[in-house]
Amino acid sequence: MKALSASAPRAIARLAACLLMIAVGVVASLPLPAQAHVLLLRSDPADGSVLKEAPTRAVFEFNQPLAPTAYVILTGPDGPLTTGPVKVQAKTLTLTLPKVTDGRYRLAYRVISASGHPLTNSISYVVGKIAPRTMKQPPRERSPDWIAATGVGAVVLLGIGAGWFVVRRKRQRQTGSPQ
């Protein structure tokens, strides 16, 4: 009885580790060429930032070199605004921003990696002091990474649950306790 209760957590841990490895293996072998996808690394202004003064330009930095074709749409409290031309250099997209009043702004971008993968998304920022939530946020897009992370989490939780159940039943049988 003593020996059994001492080994149970270890069995659970071993099972969980095993399932985790399987889950990682499954996710890694998914057909998505994840490394080929273009991702936004950082932007200036940063997504969700609150700025005292309106920025005069925006810079987006991606994880891969970009194709020359790129687009942006700037939307303010009163609708779409005209920006300067989009400049693409290596992994960076730069553009000048118009003078704007205080408010919440959304800057949507579409870039295409040099290898041909498109990415469409947006950042938003606040200029000056405004009441929170004056502009509706677009729903966040689910990224494959997010799905993968959730998948791993679910499998691990399931594994721990199953392990716990198996060990509990085994213990019940050995101690002869009724159902």
Partner: protein, 375 residues
């Protein structure tokens, strides 16, 4: 389709003919696989694309004139009329191979140099496109012969007969072989990139009359641009489905535009946007760039896939038929050369243009009337 039975039957028939010393020619029952050679217009243009293509680029021997060209067209027309109807060519050494024509069509055309022999017809070479990397070995020739059929035996036999009868009059410069995916439901066949190819094509007689068939001195003739387009399938394979569909502007599954619609024939809406405000069909995509200000087809596309057996390269033998190449085909190609996301994976390596003769009535041969030769 040449079944073993039809070939056997033809053989038995031939044997019986010899035994009875009768002069009865080989004439198996005519099936639906015969496409008439004679007519106002040549077959093989408006004809629904057969499974196989052999395109022959031929130069006339030096110092040849209109009469030599006429002689060659007379020989070839006779061969084509017989072979397309399931009859062996004159002095055919392998008559059994001609039994089932399998929708064989033979279509003849002449290059810019020879159109000078025909009054009232001019054919300019295509302008240089910035994306071209043309190879001399797939370049312009004096003549073109397009052979198409649903069976490689009949096609190969016809090719051999025509080349045999060309001896002394012409020199073969190149051969382009291709294959096309035939469909039963009217949808376009797929190219090697997986796309339905040819969605925007004239669909009825009126559209063909308006876009394909010429008028005036070349009435009932047409013009052909042959573009050999290499596909870089190794890097195309690295793209996921979303990126491929984005590049084209259509769904891979059924060819429907990314702006919506039930199939490849739905009209693309270039103004439809996503939640960010960006066009669903990207302005740089192939669909958006190839689309002219006027909606609908601009010319007839008759594309065949190829795989080069020697080096494994593959691509598309793009054939555009139009009543006016400069007015209909060139503007589209110019727009694609300026910008098209697909350009990253495609490369034109061959280019030539031809005037496709009007058809010849029964008892006449292709080109005679246009060359002003006596019957």
């Amino acid at each position: 389709m040449p079944t073993r039975r039809t070939i056997l039957r033809a053989g038995v028939l031939a044997g019986a003919g010899v035994a009875a010393s009768a002069c009865k020619p080989l004439s198996p029952e005519k099936s639906t696989s015969v496409i008439a050679f004679h007519g106002l217009r040549q077959a093989g243009v408006q004809t629904s694309p057969q499974s196989h293509l052999v395109l022959l680029g031929i130069d006339l021997t030096p110092k040849s004139g209109a009469e030599d060209l006429g002689r060659l067209m007379w020989l070839w027309s006779d061969d084509a009329a017989r072979l397309t109807s399931g009859q062996p060519a004159l002095a055919d050494t392998e008559p059994e191979l001609a039994v089932d024509p399998a929708n064989l069509t033979v279509t003849f055309g002449i290059g810019p140099r020879l159109t000078q022999l025909v009054s009232g017809v001019t054919l300019d070479p295509l302008p240089h496109f910035s994306t071209d990397k043309l190879q001399e070995r797939w370049g312009q020739t004096d003549l073109v012969v397009q052979l198409c059929a649903d069976d490689l035996i009949s096609l190969t036999h016809a090719q051999r007969m025509l080349l045999k009868d060309m001896a002394g009059l012409g020199v073969l410069r190149w051969t382009q072989s291709g294959f096309h995916q035939r469909t039963d439901d009217g949808s376009s066949g797929r190219n090697l990139m997986g796309q339905l190819d040819g969605s925007v094509n004239p669909r009825n007689a009126n559209e063909h009359d308006a876009l394909v068939w010429a008028d005036g001195a070349w009435k009932h003739g047409t013009f052909l641009a042959v573009r050999r387009i290499e596909m870089h399938l190794d890097t195309w394979d690295e793209l996921d489905r979303e990126a491929r569909e984005f590049t084209i502007g259509r769904k891979l599954s059924n060819g429907a535009p990314l702006s919506g619609g039930k199939d490849e024939f739905a009209d693309p809406d270039l103004h439809a946007t996503d939640k960010h405000g960006f066009a669903l069909i990207d302005p740089a995509s192939h669909v958006a760039r190839s689309r002219s200000a006027m909606n609908g087809p601009q010319f007839l596309r008759r594309g065949y896939n190829y795989v080069e057996p020697t080096d494994g390269t593959s691509g598309l033998i793009f054939m555009a038929y139009a009543s006016d190449l400069a007015g209909q085909f060139v503007p589209v190609q110019q727009r694609l050369a300026e910008q098209d996301l697909l350009n990253q994976w495609t490369q034109a390596i061959g280019s030539a243009v031809y005037a496709i003769w009007p058809g010849a009535p029964k008892g006449d041969y292709v080109g005679r009337a246009q060359l002003g030769l006596p019957r």
